[in-house]
Amino acid sequence: MKRAVLFLLVILLFVVSCEIEKPVFPEWDVKLQVPLMNRSFFVSDLVDSVNIVLGDDDVLVLRGTGFAYTQQDVKVNFMPQVNVANVPLISGMQQPLSAPLADAQNRVELWYGIISSGVVKARFSNVSPQLQQAKLTFNDIRRPDGSVFEIAFDGSTEWVSHSLAGCTIGNADLSAELEQLNVNVTVQSSLPNGTNVGTLDLRLNEKIHLAELHGLLHNFDIPVLENAGTIEINYPENMENAIRLLEAKLKLSIQNEVGFACEIQGTMKAERTDTGETVIVPLVDNEGNNLTIPPSDANGPGEGVFIIENGIGEMMQIMPNKVSLLNMKYIVRNDLMDGIGSLRYTDRVLANYQVDVPFTMIILDSYLKLKEPIELTIDKDNRKLFENHVENADLQFLVLNKLPLGCDLQMLFSTQPVVDHTDPSTYLLKKEVTLHSFQWVENNPNHPSVNSNGEQLISLSLSQEEMEVFTNPTLYLNLVFTMESTDQPITIKGSPADYVRVKSMIIADLHVTEDI
């Protein structure tokens, strides 16, 4: 029995002798697998219907548009050569006077016009004191109120200029060309009829500006305003160095408010300022003919739409950042009309032009670099997390690339904004991943990085040492893309089947402590 009691005492001793450690929060490691994103990036999302549009067969098209126009105050200058001298003023007589009214430059054949400015000069000299009235009546010129333009002797014997502003000249019914100036001279005096009472000099030999002209114009051109419609092209992230666009076309839509048929003359100039390359392409149709547009008529402005492909593709291959119309003008072509034409000072020729560049390209052995780095601000809690708890991480991407484009992506983390990806001393951490084009995936279906769905598994591992980079409060992420070069031209389309789907997940080893 004593042994039994002893046994029980031993049991109790076991119980009371147990030491219980002071509780502490233990530390351990866990592996977390956190899905980050699942997102499809459709090429069609780039379409903004302004600068990037969908063309035929859903091909993505880079579009630049411009608007070129002529000056609004078109000056038509008519310079007659009327210079009549020493015409006797015969009392009591009505003397008809006529002179040829041809344009000194032979550019204008005037049938009818409205004068915006111009003068006719007359001088009465050797005037007899008995002259009571001397009046010149211009039968082909009418004042704005419709009355016939007249000049009366006012006692002055010097040259007097009489403004023609607002007057019409010629036949309003456009029945015939005004070939000569007809003036009636009426003289009255107290002297017997037939007496010479003075002398008349008449000049209409200075430029007359016509606000409206009906007739014919020769060698007359209407210039496009300088710098009108220049297109500035900003390629994203140095893209001009990495691709060569192969095709382009120019669409010119012209609205002609001028009552004359016109021929377009000029060139399109493309410049690339960083290389100094310049390409100039004449504005001619695909057969090399000049472009012409019909005159406006009662139905409205004359219209012309021209698609120009010759030379435009070559022009865009230099990846210009500035495209402009150079020395563009419209030349009046009477031979393209039946009868006469018309031109008002408000008439303009408006040209909308559109450069369409399909994304059919060759990828060059070059790289794209973000112009501006991405600034990453890492708050205190996250810095602590990276410093004390994240032991390593594996950022994984499952990418379904339906595009004919692939690239190597370099991610450069640094504490300074500007880095040189070829100089490791300028950055702290460099990680690189490769995304292949769908053609590459089709050709390499058994590659370890490609699964049965054609998705590419891209892994980006960060060791504990690399994690320390993220303990900096501010980091700059520079991205450098090296495009997967292609032997053949590729075309980027924007159909619903053209997209890149990215699923990503982070797998991280975390050290759990009390303060996590």
Binding site: M1, A4, V5, F7, L8, V10, I11, F14, V15, S17, C18, E19, I20, E21, K22, P23, V24, F25, P26, E27, W28, D29, V30, K31, L32, Q33, V34, P35, L36, M37, N38, R39, Q396, L398, K503, S504, M505, I507, L510, E514, I516
Partner: protein, 414 residues
Amino acid sequence: MRRLLFLLLIFLLALPLLGRSFTGRPMMFAGSYMMRAHGSEAMYWNPALLNVHNIDVWWPLLDTGMMISNNTFDLEFYNRIMEKGQISNEDKDLLIKKMDGSLRLQMLAQTSLLGVNMGGVALSSSFHLCNKAAFSENYLKLLLYGNAEDEYTFKHRHNNLASLSFADVTVGLGDIALPLPEKYPEVKFGWSGSFLLGIHEMKTTKFNGVLRSDFDGFHLSQDVVMRKGIGGFGFKGMVGFAGKLDDNLKVGLTLDNILGNIQWVLGKEETHYKITADSVYVANLEDAYIVRKQEDFKIKSYSTRFPMELNLGALYDAKMVSLSADIKQGFGESQLTSKTPNLSFGAEFKQLSFLPIRVGFSTGNSTTPWRVAYSVGLRAKPIELSLGMQSINSLFPGYKTKGLSFGFSFRTGI
């Protein structure tokens, strides 16, 4: 967090849960008690043992047993972790291995309310509290290893909670000799019937969950149904036989839980709790499909059934020592029964009649760890005071024990 973890550990170690119910003295023999019971206790173990010559009284709260255990954590492991301050991969593997599918927590408590036995007839009342809970090892895997596996499933088998409390008013009649030919040993018969007063029941009736985390996003589906009832009544019956093979050896057989059930008539409610999250990514949490729904339903009256249980027991009672062996076999799973057989053995050393010393051993089963019981009594007729304890999953209550139980017994009329 530190405090939370500490509380969690305390909870895991001390949460009072475990299966079968018995008062103080049976616990002291690790449940090997069928042929040892007498007086009011006999109505719960073998009513055939009610003795017409005995008179005893069960006093309120003075016969109480409580057992708490889990199947995974012990003090040794706790100390090991606290001492190192870290959980190594070896520790994690060990822990998961110990869990064997789930962390199971159990508690039993039974206490006497009142009982009296006179002339082979007994009337008694006791209170029973039984709680069980199981949590899948996948939860611990998520906590310790992270979510590195593609998918985690959570089934009802490894994730459940059951809590039941009731009181009984039991009447029994025993010490009835079967009319057998004289050449056969004497076999006595007894029966008891318990009116059960259900206090509360809560149980998970459905638990399905899936957690997945991969390139297709974070997916969580959790579907839980909890049923609860407050206030009910029921019945269970027991018949028992006991025979004496010779002067020292007695054997017995009981069939318990006859018509055993509690019909819940008040506070009947079912709570459906559902969480669904699909294709959730960190980048689009705002747009993620996450649905949380909790619905409470009033339900019709329902019953908690207690499957019948067959018990066999034997007692060899010598002058200086008594040895006993019991086997229990339930015919269904419930808060009180298990389909897995359970063996238990007990011994009482009586060299000092005033100071009986008892030990017991139970093999445990798939849901209950093995355990060893130790007890000492102080006997001065007609009263006896006993104290006992059990060590769960360990020979001695020490660093490796996964739970403890304590028993207290005060009896008169011995």
